[in-house]
């Protein structure tokens, strides 16, 4: 698709979007050009885009051209559930892991420096379960790459299940809309910690739930915690 450029103080820059005021309301629109009798679209209005990252690891996110706002959500990893204990009629179930924390921010793209600017993110892993010592979920983060005016976000992982003290959900910080602690479990409550619901659905969301505790008996394994996530929603 061809594009439109505008000269800003002697420098040509691509025009990302065109807005018109319709009865007092600004609306983004497509731009078409008639070239020798054939209409060609040279600029599309921005289509809402959601980029979900649900596999543990790190990466870079680039603000797409045409976006005007971005909502960023981060979930910490769920803690692993611990195995059950005892044997026979003295058997007892294990404790579920805590859910990861949740942080959400919303920014105008212009306040971040505009399209093409970047974030760095880390998708956290869930903790391990099994019949050994379970582990906590790791933290999910979003930090500034080349964007400006951005506050780093952290969603901590939930704790592993503990048959004496239970489990606790991960805390969160840096969000300008929400910073919510994940659900924890009392000792011997075998269900996994309840994850925090965000603005997206499907694909395994809500993310970062705690792993279930083991069933009755020392040989009944706990379940691993769920992976957290990082989601960028553009409009």
């Amino acid at each position: 698709m061809a594009g439109i450029s505008v000269n800003v103080s002697g420098t040509w820059k691509p025009l990302a979007s065109v807005w018109v005021n319709v009865s007092g309301t600004w609306k983004q629109c497509n731009v078409w050009l008639n070239v020798s009798g054939t209409w060609k679209q040279i600029l599309s209005k921005f289509t809402a885009t959601i980029n979900k990252y649900t596999t543990a690891g790190s990466g870079t996110e680039t603000i797409p051209s045409g976006a005007t706002t971005v909502v960023i959500e981060v979930w910490g990893g769920g803690g692993g559930g611990i195995h059950g204990s005892g044997t026979g009629m003295g058997a007892n179930n294990g404790t579920g892991g805590g859910a990861g924390g949740y942080s959400r921010s919303s920014y105008a793209v212009s306040a971040l420096g505009g399209a093409g600017k970047t974030f760095s993110y880390t998708v956290p892993s869930g903790g391990t379960g099994g019949t050994g010592t379970p582990t906590a979920g790791s933290a999910g983060t979003v930090t500034a790459g080349t964007v400006t005016g951005f506050t780093s976000m952290t969603a901590n992982g939930g704790s592993a299940g503990n048959n004496s003290s239970g489990s606790t959900g991960g805390t969160a910080s840096g969000g300008n809309q929400a910073n919510t602690t994940g659900g924890g479990r009392a000792a011997r409550d075998a269900s996994g910690g309840t994850p925090i619901t965000g603005t997206v659905s499907g694909d395994g969301s809500p993310y970062g739930g705690g792993g279930a505790g083991g069933g009755l008996g020392a040989t009944s394994p706990g379940s691993p915690g769920n992976t957290g996530a990082v989601v960028f929603s553009y409009t």
Partner: protein
């Protein structure tokens, strides 16, 4: 609630269960074949029963009850204060089962009875 303590002597493997108060017990549960047991009443009196009391037996101190396959799942309720029973594993220690120290004795409070006492 109830207290439990492992009893192990060479091929013998079992657990003692103590119920401080009448109405204490061990909620409905089942066992793998390796963990099947009989019940010996050491003191006091208990009722063993299946879901909705589809079967029920009252045992007194000195009684031995052999749990057959049709006695699973089951629940145990103390009918007197300070009742104690011994559950002997009929196959001995389950293969590969080596309990950590914290699982050899303790107290369980989260397995309530599913039915009210019979009498």
């Amino acid at each position: 609630m109830f207290h439990f303590k492992l009893y192990e002597d060479r091929a013998l493997y079992g657990m003692t269960y103590t119920f401080p108060k009448r109405g204490d017990g061990i909620g409905m549960h089942d066992h793998t074949e390796a963990q099947k047991h009989n019940v010996i009443v050491l003191r006091g009196r208990v009722e063993l029963y299946g879901p909705d009391r589809c079967w029920s037996v009252t045992l007194n101190a000195g009684d031995i009850f052999i749990l057959e396959d049709n006695h699973h799942p089951h629940e145990v309720a103390a009918l007197e204060d300070n009742t104690a029973v011994l559950g002997m594993f009929v196959h001995g220690r389950p293969a590969g089962e080596y309990l950590p120290e914290e699982d050899k004795t303790g107290t369980i409070t989260n397995r309530p009875l599913t039915l009210p006492l019979k009498d």
